[in-house]
Amino acid sequence: MTKYQMIVDLDRCQGCRACMEACKIENNTTEGTFWMYVFRLEEGVYPDAKLSFLPRPCQHCEDAPCVKVCPVGARFKRDDGLTLTDYERCIGCRYCELACPYGVNYFNWEKPEDRTYGDWSDPDLEPITGGLNPPWSNPALAEPQGPEQRMTAGGGHHKGVMEKCTFCVHRVDRGEVPACVETCPVEALRFGDVDDEGSPISRYIREHDHFRLLDDLGTKPSVVYVGGQPPSDEAHEIELVKARVER
């Protein structure tokens, strides 16, 4: 049986945030929504300051708190390890968001089409984009995914429902790696099947020291961090992005 996991190599990550942008375009996510997020962290005092980067996709926990608490089974666990959101079933109670210790859930606080990085209603665009909003939106994402044929891919952004990283389910199901993994300029992100002993990712995990985020909570994340250490309590963010959506 397939079990997909992601490796984040903290010895390679240069915090460029290309993964965040690739995710946004691939999944047409809206302003302030970061299914993939990269912490830029600083700790210590000059001249002994330390900088580190920490990519944070959804951890796709094997024992996912968000799945447990979902009242209607909109958040569910696929047999291949993906943790997905059925945006047709979600009732928007945001319980999963509170259950998740990693802060990876993003709620559609307003109509997503009002948060697509611009006003795309320009008539001069109509002939090219057919009025699509955003113009780069990918219809493939609005199709039901996987054997269970549920609406889980990035195409479904609807007011009042929850969304998060899908490991690019629509790509994985086509045998491709997630968009963030594909674009990483320094190959700090890797993706594959850990059930297959021979797979590159399995070997990579075997051959490197690694940890999982907030392991002690027993969530059994599917994201494996190679190199570096878990963020210390002193670590704080620098270079904050514009993340809070306001009216």
Partner: protein, 442 residues
């Protein structure tokens, strides 16, 4: 203070004069004014709700945890917890009265039941106000709800079972009075006949009522504990939320529920006492009994708070401390210590009255309101800080302050509740009619 015991049964003022007792059917100026205000507030709440539906919850102060540095649960959930808490007291009192035949408290029973029903309905509405997809919510909960989600407990046990049980309890209890009043030919006679549903107050009927209510009460009491515990679990089972993951959550919930409920019951009783001229039935004994109960519950609750704070500050790890600090000395300190002060003052007020054995209804009302204000504060603190200050990854500290929409909806809900009680008072006696009434029946 046992002086009033003698004339408990009969009083000339009761149920006399033209028309029905307790001013039923009579639209006084005060009542009309009260209804006007509450209905206006309710309408405002409804407007706020639909405004939110049309624009999305961007119009609230809620935002995502993590990068967005907000709190996805806010005032709505805080009040859901509060309302369900209030409901606790009502039905408990009613059940206790029935189980232990506390005859002298019987006048409290119906308003207690009413309080439960109303607050449970408000709780349900609070959930709907919070959902991003309310319509889908109603349908999908019936369609897909999963037992392993603590939310399921809230939904089925608290709302469905608990609410329905209380409704039944309230209804069955009201039949006799309805029957009595159905004798008078008034505009309400039809309604009273309907409620009475052929009740003739025969020994048999009374017997059955005894049996039914006894078993109901028996069934309800354990359910209370379960229901309120599940509500506690909604938070208590969350490993990922510093400040939530605690075995004390459930019991603390139940006790604080009691405090706020009893507090409100005192207020309601005092109002009824005035509005319906029930000075004799709702006598000092009734209030002193509620006062003592409130004192005990408050002490218990404060004990819980102390132990929780101690464990958090003493044992708690880095992030655990952040939440506690935010609460004790940080941005939320004023709410925490404000609530504590109110509890403390109320407790002092109660103890004085207990020791001096001199009870002032005015003081009790003030205390009732105080503990409820404090309870709201505490509910807010249970819900919010663990979100804004409780992230385990190095996110920036978050913030949450409600918008007019959220205040509007909450005020609207409270107003609806008040209005409902107001209307009920004008239809069915909110205080059970005294025994001697049935002599007139047969």
């Amino acid at each position: 203070m046992t002086t009033t015991l003698g004339d408990a049964g009969t009083t000339p003022t009761r149920a006399t004069g033209p028309g029905l007792p307790q001013g039923i059917g009579k639209l006084t100026r005060g009542w009309t004014l009260f209804m006007a205000v509450t209905l206006a507030a309710s309408l405002f709440g409804v407007y706020a709700f639909f405004y939110q539906q049309a624009n999305g919850e961007i119009v609230t102060g809620m935002r995502d945890v993590g990068t967005m540095r907000g709190a996805p649960w806010g005032l709505y959930i805080a009040f859901l917890v509060y309302f369900v808490g209030v409901s606790f007291a009502g039905i408990t009192i009613a059940a206790l009265i029935r189980l232990f035949n506390l005859e002298r408290l019987r006048p409290l029973a119906r308003m207690a039941e009413l309080l439960t029903v109303v607050s449970l309905v408000l709780g349900t509405l609070a959930i709907l106000a919070d959902l991003g997809q309310p319509v889908r919510g109603v349908i999908n909960l019936f369609r897909y709800a999963r037992p392993q989600s603590p939310f399921f407990g809230t939904f089925t046990l608290v709302i469905a079972g608990y609410l329905f049980a209380s409704v039944v309890y309230l209804y069955l209890g009201s039949r006799r009075d309805a029957a009595i009043m159905a004798k008078e030919s008034t505009r309400l006679q039809g309604l009273h006949r309907f409620v009475a549903a052929g009740y003739k107050d025969t020994a048999a009927e009374r017997g059955r009522h005894e049996t039914a209510t006894f078993w109901l009460a028996l069934a309800i009491v354990p359910m209370l504990v379960v229901a309120h515990s599940t509500l506690g679990f909604v938070f208590g089972l969350q490993i990922g939320r510093p400040g939530w993951f605690s075995a004390l959550q459930a019991p603390a919930f139940v006790v604080l529920a009691g405090v706020s409920g009893i507090g409100l019951l005192i207020v309601l009783a005092a109002v009824v006492r005035r509005a319906c001229g029930e000075q004799e039935s709702l006598d000092e004994y009734v209030f002193s009994w509620l006062g003592r109960l409130l004192a005990v519950l408050t002490i218990t609750y404060l004990y819980f708070v102390v132990t929780e704070v101690l464990t958090a500050t003493y044992g708690g790890g880095g992030r655990e401390n952040d939440v506690t600090d935010a609460m004790l000395s940080g941005r939320y300190a004023w709410i925490f210590w404000g609530s504590m002060a109110l509890f403390g003052a109320s407790l002092v007020g109660l103890l004085i009255q207990i020791l001096t054995k001199r009870w002032s209804i005015g003081a009790l009302v003030a205390i009732g309101l105080a503990v409820n204000l404090a309870a709201v504060g505490k509910r807010f603190l249970i819900v919010v800080p663990s979100q804004t200050d409780g992230m385990l990854l190095p996110y920036e500290t978050g913030s949450y302050s409600p918008t007019w929409v959220e205040y509007g909806v909450v005020i609207g809900l409270i107003a609806m509740g008040a209005a409902a009680i107001g209307i009920f008072m004008k239809l069915i006696p909110i205080v059970e009619l005294p025994e001697e009434a049935d002599t007139r029946v047969t």
